[in-house]
């Protein structure tokens, strides 16, 4: 907990501690999208690694929530960072310049949810074919309803 506080000292981020034994996360924080890169830079400088970049589609609230899970090699601290934006055309800033490994995570999350990562070094599809026009992990995508032409 203190490691995160040290990292985010000076940034306008409210960190909530979580009960690790029941949920496996030590702390979480929600930030504005424009604060994402400074927070990542601060965490990277202290040696936090990005476990994953993913997203959750809250259909009921019309929101797509980007989830960034960090951890640390020396001091086990699982930290969840979330940002949110509207569901219609979600745009998040890319952290590919700070964490090179995030590029692939962003490519995957982008194609699954239809999120555009601004200034990403590489925004091609990763797992889906390049011609895919739908976003499978969105809650309003029903697999059986849309036959896919696999030519």
């Amino acid at each position: 907990m203190t490691l995160i506080e040290t990292a985010l000292d000076g940034l306008d981020v409210a960190v909530d501690g979580l009960e690790y034994t029941t949920c496996g996360l030590h702390a979480q924080a929600e930030v504005r999208p424009d604060l994402l890169r400074p927070v990542c830079r601060a965490l990277h400088s202290l040696g936090f690694f990005l476990e994953t970049v993913t997203a959750i589609d809250w259909l009921a609230d019309e929101i797509i929530q980007g989830v960034y899970l960090f951890n640390h090699y020396e001091q086990n601290t699982r930290f969840k960072l979330t940002i949110r934006t509207v569901r219609a055309h979600p745009v998040f800033p890319s952290v590919g310049a700070i964490y090179p490994g995030a590029v692939w995570h962003e490519r995957e999350t982008g194609e699954f949810f239809g999120i555009t990562y601004k200034d990403s070094p590489d925004s091609r599809c990763l797992l889906l074919p390049a011609e895919t026009t739908f976003h499978p992990l969105r809650k309003d995508f029903r697999p059986q309803a849309q036959p896919v032409d696999t030519a």
């Binding site: 034994t21 029941t22 949920c23 496996g24 996360l25 990277h44 040696g47 936090f48 690694f49 990005l50 476990e51 994953t52 993913t54 959750i56 589609d57 989830v67 899970l69 951890n71 090699y73 020396e74 086990n76 699982r78 700070i98 964490y99 090179p100 490994g101 590029v103 692939w104 995570h105 699954f112 925004s123 091609r124 599809c125 990763l126 797992l127 889906l128 074919p129 390049a130 499978p136 992990l137 697999p143």
Partner: protein, 378 residues
Amino acid sequence: MFESKTAPTYHLESMEENQFVLNLGPQHPGTHGVLRVVLHMDGEYILTADPVLGYGHRMQEKIAETMTYTQVLPYMARMDYLGALFYNQAWVCLVEKMCGFEVPKRAEYIRVLCAELNRIASHFLWFGAFLLDLGAFTPFLHAFADRERILDLLESVTGSRLTHCYFRFGGVGADVDNVFLAGAQAFVDHMRKHLPTYHSLVTGNVIFQQRTKDVGVILPFETWGYGISGPVLRGSGKQYDVRTSEPYSIYPELDFKVPVEQAGDCLARYLVRLREIEESLNIIEQTIAGMPKGPVRSKVPKIIKPPEGEAAMAVETPRGELMIYLVSDGSTVPYRVKYRVPSFANLSIFSHLARGRLLADALAILGSLDMVIPEVDR
């Protein structure tokens, strides 16, 4: 100009005479699974390496959103068929954590015993495949002969040789008997005598050392930028193993070391994995000796309905840290499941490592990263 979402086109006219594009195609003896790497080469040197994934993509995360928690369990083993029990463990432990299920002590011991056997089997297959990539054919067969013993043991208890679906919520599927325990102990004794053969056949070989020393060096400061974990990370000097950093199951009670090498090259990763086999043998011996009596499964409700919320669970697979992040909305079906697989992060550093190297080195690096492509593709 529209933003192209397709692969980069290589302008062959503007390339110099020695440069060409080579497809380390989806069908290649050297890629472990259906992986395609588009190599832009200058003679035998690689200028850029661009992995193309998705040949084995099955949209596991969407499948999990349409199935109940129990129905998702067999899918776990299909993601990483070499380390199926670890995926089993991650999923059942995650749901147990969210729902607050208790696991009997005997079940925990059996879980660790079978998981460590699985780890050794996975490392044997990696050993054979890695050396096959380097051109040595014989160690593959020696490794597989020993791996068969493990597969026979695991088959007798889980029912399958490869894609085990043995763990259940609240314990394991069936109890182990004394025949199994005796067999596991016999295997440990056999391997302790046999492991020096592996070292004498391979590790000291000059050609092998020349092929793997200082090849594909991952410097310590590069590791957290890519999220590396597992033996790849421990070969670069970082002591991070989920079993000791974030202990789960009965690992806190067991006495084992986490091998770490400093060099960061292919040889270091190789040595880490071989030492991990030795440590796993120690763990197996301890679990056999300390196996308590008791039930192997606690009573859990038939319909699993975790409370609304989220949870994360990490386990140490042979390839690195597997973390599953689950968001539940209180229903019988997960709301969102994210599989953070170790090979995904480990593969993302490949294009950085392969740049400027010879093709033969790139394949050695690919082999030393130990990837299972179905888990990368999910």
